[in-house]
């Protein structure tokens, strides 16, 4: 028995169990998020549930659970109940409904039940009654109207996109120009002296733009009229009619009549919509594209800042500073900096970057716009700098380790050939330490992507009207507020008025965030392995 303990086998088992445990936790986490998130986009069948009291419900079955029956009995026996997504928020007020299983008399899947995804008011479940064009009926009944509806939706989507592009693009551009001209006028007035000639010139330009604006507005009115020309009337399962513009419908499908492949292609198009479009309905529907964009752009800016700073600092610490008590102290401080709670960095950033630097920048370069802050408020630049500050210790530590691992022989070899210390560092030491530097960057990216707390006070918002990059000069707008996946999860999950509807969004967004972290890391790992191959010292 003593021999058994001495052999070390139990220890090996212990290490194995510890590893297993960690792997299980990771797998469990991923499984939970993937299972809850991935199913969200699948068009499940629409069930018509007939209850004992002869009421009828129509919707997707979204869940089952067992609860203690508190309404009757002694409160200890369990009853099963089913959750239905019944939609029709404009008719019922609530999207979801729980039904006790013992109340259900019959569940059927009517072939003609239609799901409408709408731009407003969420999903509608029901049957088509009729479609009208400028008030006159063009078809009635499910069978006749379905093909008409299918052909109308793309047509109205096109009009909708046209309206959006005029509103956001062209009119947005005009507004921006008018705003810039106004600021120019204000700037001239602040300068003092006689600027009336220039001011009147700018005024003329503003009027010119306003004329264009009127023209566009008229065009918009025509489009809007066309947009609301065709109307559809739906009948809900309990017999109530609801009329709405066909233009309001994003997508219509009849899941009960669809084959598996049709459902799969619909699933993919919904996933694509999720990653490529703006959110709707207080972020509970639509896509998360601005959040993906904001997250990635923020990480990029952070990398651009953190990499040179961290590497330079590590180079000084390792290569040039005289090793001694002071350097050791600095090193300890750097290591400890990595453990400071991130919200503390956020608070620092608000005080230093936003109120300090930002307000100074505004005072010098954006005087005309005051009191409206430009850089003196949260924005993607400040958020990225905060994260850079947060992750710079990681890069410093990793780089230092990489530099320390470069063998002395190689440095001596370079020096013996007449290279200066700078040339040796630049041409031999840094390339050799590159894999370690990139490892530091990978860790920094992984930490930065998942960070939310400091961002909440340095520039992340629930809904950003514009992306930080667009087609208007200077194209990259670092002062803009932005959306972020991590914050999006928090916002949708805990700040949403419609918790049930938002729940699947939380899981899908979390899954997406994990995927983005994986993709960013993989990219860096592939680059690092390429370099490693190039620079590894051989075993000989």
């Amino acid at each position: 028995m003593k021999k058994f303990w001495k052999s070390g086998d139990p220890f090996i088992w212990l290490t194995g169990v510890a590893l297993m445990f960690s792997l299980l936790m990771i797998a469990g986490l991923l499984y939970l998020i993937a299972a809850k998130g991935l199913g969200f986009f699948w068009p499940s069948n629409v069930a018509e549930v007939r209850l004992e009291d002869s009421r009828k419900l129509l919707g997707e079955i979204t869940g089952h659970e067992k609860v203690k029956n508190t309404t009757s009995g002694d409160g200890t026996e369990f009853i099963e109940r089913t959750q239905l997504k019944i939609g029709n928020r404009d008719l019922y007020g609530l999207d979801f409904r729980w039904v006790n299983n013992d109340q259900i008399k019959e569940t059927t899947y009517p072939e003609y039940s239609v799901v409408l995804e709408r731009r407003e008011w969420g999903n509608m479940y029901g049957f088509i009654k009729q479609i009208t064009e400028s008030g006159s009926v063009i078809c009635t009944g499910n069978q006749d109207c379905w093909p008409v509806l299918e052909s109308l939706i793309p047509k109205f989507s096109k009009i909708y996109n046209e309206i959006k592009s005029i509103e956001k693009g062209e009119i947005g551009g005009i507004n921006r120009q008018i705003e810039n001209l106004r600021l120019d006028i204000r700037g001239l007035k602040m300068k003092g002296g006689d600027q009336s000639e220039q001011i009147s010139k700018l005024q003329a330009k503003i009027e010119e733009q306003e004329a264009i604006y009127k023209e566009k507005e008229q065009k918009l009115q025509v489009l809007y009229k066309e947009f609301s020309r065709d109307k559809i009337t739906m009948t809900s399962v309990d017999g109530r009619d609801k009329e709405m513009a066909v233009g309001n419908i994003l997508r219509a499908y009849r899941p009960n009549a669809m084959s598996w492949f049709q459902k799969a292609s619909l699933y993919l198009s919904k996933v694509w919509e999720f990653v490529s479009t703006d959110p709707r309905e207080a972020n509970t529907e639509g896509g998360v594209f601005p959040a993906i964009f904001g997250t990635i752009m923020m990480v990029f800016i952070m990398s651009i800042v953190v990499l040179p700073f961290g590497v330079l600092a590590a180079l000084y610490l390792r290569e040039y500073a005289k090793q001694g008590a002071l350097v050791r102290l600095v090193r300890i401080c750097v290591n400890n900096l990595a453990g400071v709670p991130s919200i503390v960095f956020g608070v620092f950033a608000v005080g230093f970057f936003i109120y300090g630097l930002g307000s100074t920048i505004d005072g010098i370069f954006y005087k005309e716009a005051l009191p409206n802050p430009t850089f003196g408020t949260g924005g993607i630049l400040w958020a990225s700098l905060t994260l850079a500050l947060l992750t710079v210790p990681v890069v410093i530590v990793a780089t230092e380790e990489g530099l320390a691992a470069v063998p002395k022989e190689i440095r001596d070899g370079s020096l013996a050939l007449g290279a200066t210390k700078f040339e040796t560092t630049w041409k031999i030491v840094i390339p050799s330490a590159m894999p370690a530097i990139l490892t530091g960057l990978i860790l920094a990216i992984a930490r930065a992507t998942g960070e939310v707390a400091p961002l909440m006070i340095t520039g992340v918002v629930k809904l950003a009207p514009q992306l930080p990059i667009d087609g208007y000069f200077p194209y990259i707008h670092l002062e803009r507020k932005f959306m972020h996946l991590g914050f999006h999860i928090y916002d949708v999950g805990f700040q949403s008025p419609n918790v049930e509807a938002a729940k699947p969004m939380v899981f899908t967004t979390a899954l997406l965030l994990i995927l983005i972290v994986i993709v960013l890391n993989l990219t860096a790992i592939i680059v690092r392995n390429r370099l490693k191959k190039k620079y590894t010292t051989s075993a000989v």
């Binding site: 022989e409 001596d412 070899g413 020096l415 050939l417 007449g418 290279a419 390339p431 620079y535 590894t536």
Partner: protein, 282 residues
């Protein structure tokens, strides 16, 4: 290798205390056409007296071997010749070392120029983590040469000079780290001669190599002797006797004996030298 005329070993084979054999300055061994002249060099690592009053001349275009037990100061003396000891913070050097008639410890000396003139090959082969081509071209690039035609020429000439060209000429762009140990060491020699130094310092270049690779390097040293002054440190007595023209025996920071290789191995003046070369101690 047989040593003839071996003197009778005394009862005390390992000397406990080395006596200084006369005044090192007046007894300095004279060589023809010296390129390196060491005059009264003392070197301290902090408090430790690592080199004690060294006087020696190193002849041009000959191979000179430094032998002696570990820690006797051979490497330290060698690293004085290209001032690599400057990298050790605690090291201080006294005395003068003349190369080509210039004192290399004079403050006006450009260290990078000196190191281009005095190349070095290390004990552990240390190719840079770059391609074979870039390893050899490194010195020339540092010197500011960037024309491809010139670099190509330098690389080819140096690799031919180190007898490596035939083995690697069709994979110059491969990583130098994929070479064998012997090839790596010859690559390091090629890298060193690419900057056309006058003096080539070799710090135990074969200690990590197998006999065949060692033989190749020794052949190479014999060839290089025609154009370069070679100073080689070795722990291998046979190697010293095979490749060198002159041999210096050092012990505890002192230069005990310096003479032609023949004299040192066959007819040494001092007993410690004899004991060391015959393998009685060390």
């Amino acid at each position: 290798m047989a040593i003839e005329n071996v003197k009778e070993a005394s009862e005390n084979t390992v000397p406990e205390q080395i006596k200084v054999h006369g005044d090192p300055k007046s007894s300095k061994f004279r060589v023809p056409d010296p390129i390196v002249e060491v005059n009264g060099v003392n070197l301290y690592y902090g408090d430790k007296h690592a080199l004690k009053d060294i006087y020696m001349d190193i002849p041009k275009n000959k191979a000179t071997a430094f032998i002696g037990p570990s820690g006797c100061g051979k490497s330290t003396l060698l690293r004085c010749f290209n001032r690599l000891n400057d990298l050790v913070d605690s090291a201080t050097v006294e005395g003068e070392i003349m190369i080509d008639g210039e004192d290399i410890y004079d403050p006006s000396i450009d260290i990078t120029e000196l190191r281009k003139n005095v190349g070095m090959v290390f004990q552990k082969s240390n190719p840079f983590p770059k391609s074979i081509y870039e390893n050899v071209a490194y010195g020339a690039r540092i010197a500011g040469e960037n024309r491809k035609s010139v670099l190509d020429e330098v690389v080819e000439k140096s690799l031919k000079g180190s007898a490596l060209w035939d083995e690697v000429h069709n994979r110059l762009q491969d990583s130098a780290l994929g070479l064998s140990g012997g090839q790596m060491q010859r690559l390091c020699i090629a890298r060193a001669i690419a900057v056309e130094p006058e003096v080539l310092l070799m710090d135990e270049p074969c200690s990590a190599l197998d006999p065949i690779a060692t033989g190749k390097i020794e052949d190479l040293i014999s060839e290089l002797k025609d154009n370069y002054t070679i100073v080689i440190i070795t722990h291998n007595m046979q190697q010293a006797s095979r490749v060198s023209d002159y041999t210096a025996f050092m012990y505890l920071g002192e230069l005990i004996e310096y003479d032609t290789t023949e004299t040192i191995f066959l007819n040494p003046k001092y007993k410690q030298t004899e004991d060391y070369v015959s393998g009685k101690f060390g």
